[in-house]
């Protein structure tokens, strides 16, 4: 394929695309389409709970109907005698497991772990489970399990008078200068409170698993963002060696942070499989996905900004609160964007965590940065209006030339370029700052801007690259592809390094028997895994070339060359003299079945224990400010909304976002991820909210008809512009994070646009119609 063909086939190379305009689709930086796409759209891709196993039985959960109290008794008689029932699990008969190490690597307490609760701390907690021959039988029998409770008053949410101020999290405290005094004496000041509700990941594929024991070996088919982390959890729960647990997860129907851990229901299925000696499938229902694991915690922030008359920030005082569960700890770092987005001589941020009767909250696309940006990026807009300065101009006036918190230079920060490119494409200069100054009939039109950022999270990775007898290349890793494009970019990486067409590379992912990988979360996977594959593929290529040069049966043997070139699957000398043979021919003539090379990016002196830790916890992850630089992705969103003045309905009519994710390994896939983040951000801004019945402490809109996420009709054309440049401080090949960046800053850009349209500042998400009529 010529360069020209590639470019016309893969279409629009976007303006500002940082990748070299002339890259082949198949090389790193090319716009290769998703290699797993055909399998997904034809249904050939088999998801976890679609596995067909002999003797498969079905488990269904019974959940608590109170939010706080204790299970008095569980009457299982009717369920046990129901047709097809094999086992009814309750806290009384369920196998006791060991408590497992957590994801941070914290050693577990020496206490048993029981996934079925007797002490109830939230509504929807698992209290029992029924396993039957058929799914329908299990459902029917689960309804026959009678649980009686002693109920105690619940703390239902952050607004509950019993909730109190919560627990100060000292590690979240960030202070420099004298923020309170500087705020008090600043000539221009704003102070406001910003709230975000409980939000949920709502992946298209709900959670679930099939567990099967063979002796003391456990196989689990389960959608997973972290095979090795989850395998470790199962191994520790059951006290079997890590190697005895095999996690299989080749395809994942979206995770958004929710599929990195083995949860209570996972344990229930694995226990049932062990007790019954046959495979057990447990599919979490959509309503159960709202309580079987946690969504984003509800948050409250107050942001006080003091500035001089020119809008230069003198002080930022930030206080944040997020909810966590009664017995678990989740800290949603609310000061994470607040402390780095703008230069300020005085700063104070503190955070408390409040225990309420909820499932322990979890990660949802850009945990921390997302709500943090809603606070600071709304507040700076308010400051702009208070100071009478254009919202874009005030951001440039307060541009942080270095990391204000770490006091280190940025590795790269193309945020100024993002503002410029976005403003130009959007037409920001034509904006009349006056609220309610644009309308089209009944529609008030508003334009808003906000910035976003996400840190570059780094870890070490390993991969196996094989060059096979037929000249094809195989890549193996236990990392995963949940739609972001791992299969594709690893094929591109191996293809480029070895010198074969990408279609001749087979990437195998999602099996814990493959070389290990850390969590796919925090937007780190692409940077980590392209680095590892690059290394392994380079080693494989070296072996190939070495063979070709030195093997007596090689057609190149006589040439006495120092090196050879491999391109398009063929080997030749750099000068073009001598033969040109395919990789397959060479391996044939030297009599080799395959060449294989393992590569990892761990420090050379790493011990086996270091490696195990690196892949099964995040304890060894490198800080984004480690060394001389502070590393982050950056973006600027420019958004137009139309608000119906009578109805209060908000529709997003235009989005232009300029983003700096460093070098893009595949611009097409990066753009899709950015857009996906922006789409989720639109839903977050306008629709998404877990609604709690405050008498029962229960989420009542726990289904996709009532928990609203954006539909196609809610999404306008989205223009994304890449302004990144390669950042070799961030990753081996120069990329920074992509997956989470896009959502950060969307909600405040929309809230700011709504203010511009209507003159009403909505500080509570989502911006539903009753807040505007």
């Amino acid at each position: 394929m010529t360069v020209h063909e590639t470019r016309t086939r893969h279409g629009d190379s976007k303006r500002g695309d940082a990748s070299d305009g002339a890259v082949l689709a198949e090389s790193v930086g090319g716009r290769l389409s998703r290699v797993d796409g055909p399998a997904k759209i034809t249904g050939a891709a088999k998801y976890a709970v679609e596995q067909q196993l002999d003797g498969l039985s079905h488990a269904v959960l019974v959940e608590s109907t109170i939010a706080a109290g204790r299970v008095r008794s569980i009457d299982t008689a009717a369920a046990e005698s129901a047709p097809g029932v094999l086992l009814v699990l309750t806290p009384d008969n369920v196998l006791r497991l060991n408590t497992a190490t957590d994801w941070l690597g914290t050693p577990p307490p020496d206490a048993p772990y029981c996934p079925l609760a007797r002490d109830i701390t939230f509504s929807g907690q698992h209290v029992a489970a029924v396993v039957a021959e058929r799914f329908e039988q299990a459902v029917a029998a689960a309804a026959l399990v009678k649980v009686s409770y002693d109920e105690t008053p619940a703390i239902v949410d952050l607004d509950d008078p019993k909730a109190g101020d919560g627990i100060p999290i000292d590690t979240m405290t960030k202070e420099w200068g004298d923020a309170q005094a500087a705020f008090a004496s600043a000539p221009v000041r704003i102070c406001a409170a910003y709230n975000t509700p409980r939000e949920y990941q709502t992946p298209m594929e709900p959670h679930g698993l099939i567990a099967q024991w063979q002796g003391d070996r456990l196989t689990v088919w389960e959608p997973s963002q972290w095979l090795d982390g989850m395998a470790r959890t199962y191994a520790e729960w059951f006290g079997v060696p890590f190697e005895n647990v095999r996690l299989v997860s080749p395809y994942i129907g979206g995770g958004f942070g929710s599929k990195a851990f083995a949860y209570g229901y996972s344990a229930v299925a694995a226990i049932a499989a062990k007790m019954l000696g046959r495979p057990v499938k447990l599919a979490v229902t959509r309503p159960q996905t709202f309580t079987a694991y946690g969504g984003r915690a509800a948050t409250r922030q107050t942001v006080a900004l003091g500035a001089d008359a020119e809008g230069r920030i003198q002080s930022i005082v930030h206080r944040g609160v997020n909810e966590t569960s009664v017995d678990g700890m989740w800290v949603e770092p609310l000061g994470s964007v607040t402390s780095i987005m703008y230069a300020t001589p005085n700063f104070s941020s503190r955070q408390n965590v409040v225990r309420v009767n909820t499932v322990v909250p979890g990660a949802l696309r850009a945990p921390g940065e997302n709500p943090s940006a809603f606070g600071i990026e709304s507040a700076i807009d308010e400051l702009a209006y208070e100071a009478g300065i254009d919202p874009l101009e005030i951001r440039l006036r307060n541009y942080a030339e270095q990391d204000p918190e770490a006091k280190k230079p940025w590795s790269t920060r193309q945020l100024r370029e993002a503002f410029a490119a976005g403003a130009e494409a959007f037409g920001w200069s034509k904006r009349n700052p006056q609220p309610r100054s644009m309308r089209d009939g009944n529609q008030l039109i508003g334009w808003g801007v906000a910035a976003g950022t996400y840190p570059v999270r780094r870890a070490y990775g390993e991969a196996m690259v094989r060059i096979l007898a037929d000249g094809s290349v195989e890549v193996e890793s236990s990392s995963i592809d949940m739609g972001q494009g791992t299969y594709t970019i690893l094929a591109q990486t191996a293809a480029e390094v070895v010198g074969v067409p990408a279609e001749n590379v087979v990437v195998k992912l999602g099996d814990s028997r493959y070389p290990r990988a850390g969590v796919t979360g925090g937007s780190r996977l692409a940077g980590v895994m392209t680095g590892a594959v690059h290394k392994a593929a380079s080693a494989a290529l070296d072996q190939l070339v070495g063979l070709a040069i030195s093997d007596p049966n090689s057609p190149f043997h006589a040439l006495q060359a120092n090196t050879l070139v491999v391109a398009n699957g063929h080997i030749r000398s750099p000068r073009g003299d001598g033969p040109e043979v395919s990789i397959a021919e060479l391996l044939g003539s030297v009599g080799r079945e395959q060449i294989e090379a393992m590569g990892d990016t761990m420090p050379a002196n790493s011990t086996a224990d270091d490696r195990y830790k690196n892949y099964t916890t995040i304890a060894t992850a490198l800080s984004h400010t480690e060394g001389d630089y502070s590393r982050h992705s950056w973006c600027a969103h420019f958004i137009e909304v139309r608000v119906d003045e009578d109805f209060g309905t908000v529709r997003v009519s235009r989005v232009v976002s300029a983003l700096d994710s460093g070098r893009l390994y595949n611009p097409k896939l990066a753009e899709s991820q950015w857009k996906g983040g922006i789409i989720m951000g639109i839903g977050q801004a306008l629709l998404e909210e877990g609604i709690v019945d405050r008498r029962h402490g229960r989420i009542v809109n726990n289904n996709l008809a009532d928990y609203l996420i954006a539909t196609n009709a809610d999404i306008p054309d989205i223009e994304v512009i890449s302004v990144g440049i390669p950042d070799l401080h961030s990753s081996v090949l120069g990329g920074k994070g992509v997956g989470e960046l896009g959502i950060v800053g969307v909600a405040p850009a929309i809230a700011n646009a709504v203010f511009h349209a209507t003159g009403k500042r909505v500080r509570d998400l989502p911006i539903t119609l009753e807040k505007l009529i």
Binding site: A143, N442, D646, T649, V692, H696, V700, L769, E770, I773
Partner: protein, 327 residues
Amino acid sequence: MRDFSYLRANSIDAARQAAALPGAMLLAGGTTLIDLAKCGVTEPETVVDITHLRGLDTIAVDDRGAMIGALARMSSVADHADIKSRFPAVSEALWQAASAQLRNMATFGGNLMQRTRCPYFRDPANFPACNKRSPGSGCSAIGGVTRGHAVLGTSEACIATYPGDLATALVAFDAIVHLGDRQVAVDDFFLLPGATPDREHAIGPGEVITAISIPASAAARRSTYLKVRDRQSYEFAAASAAVGIEFEADGRTIRDLRVALGGVATRPWRARAVEDALKGKVLEPDAVRRASLLAIEGAADHGANHYKIELAPRVVARAILKVGETA
């Protein structure tokens, strides 16, 4: 969902007989029935499948009106050229309802019988108290999450909103439900909750909706369905209005006006007070806005649904002005 027996009816009479048995329920598109069975709300002992009955899916439109078979799919009716031209409000109510997939499955008859989206009604395991589900058990919604609940036609026993769009258009244009030979005006087909919210429709055991007819009218021809909601698609109405206008020869004076509200009442809600206030008057924005306030006469909120009282008259006014202004 518990096990049930499945029976495929091969004639309407057989369907009637089977449906009269205790615990039997008709199955049309299944989009309400299966959904509620999964929630544990309906527990049929026998499911009587009527989708194989012949001749119940016809759509016939002539100068007297439309006759639509109970098994006609929502999508087929929405796309029907004569429905679009003679009853635009009906077509618009249909295509703004649910999602494309649901509209392809769901039937005209089943649509009338859809149940409320009250979250307490839909979750028996967690909320045993629901007068609609189990008479006399109480109402879990009152005092709870009421954002979607009704402000019109409520009772102390139940405040659940009738969620459908189609029936709102049907009551505006005096449609008739055909239960075989028996005919019931759509307006009488939907019952107010009163003390018996479990009784929602004027239909007896063993009765089958066979067709719905809509008389032709000038107002139906010049009509619209305006649906307001936070999400642009695939959401029930926060408030909606079906409106049709017939002008006198002067093109300004209102001869006939039909107004019905959706998403705000316990049943499809004909707003005759608005109609009466404007009939004989010249269409004029301020007068329309004033008259539209009559749509929510007697409305009472339960806190979080207060916005519906503000919203509904605005939706009515916009819809009247919209149809009034189009040539």
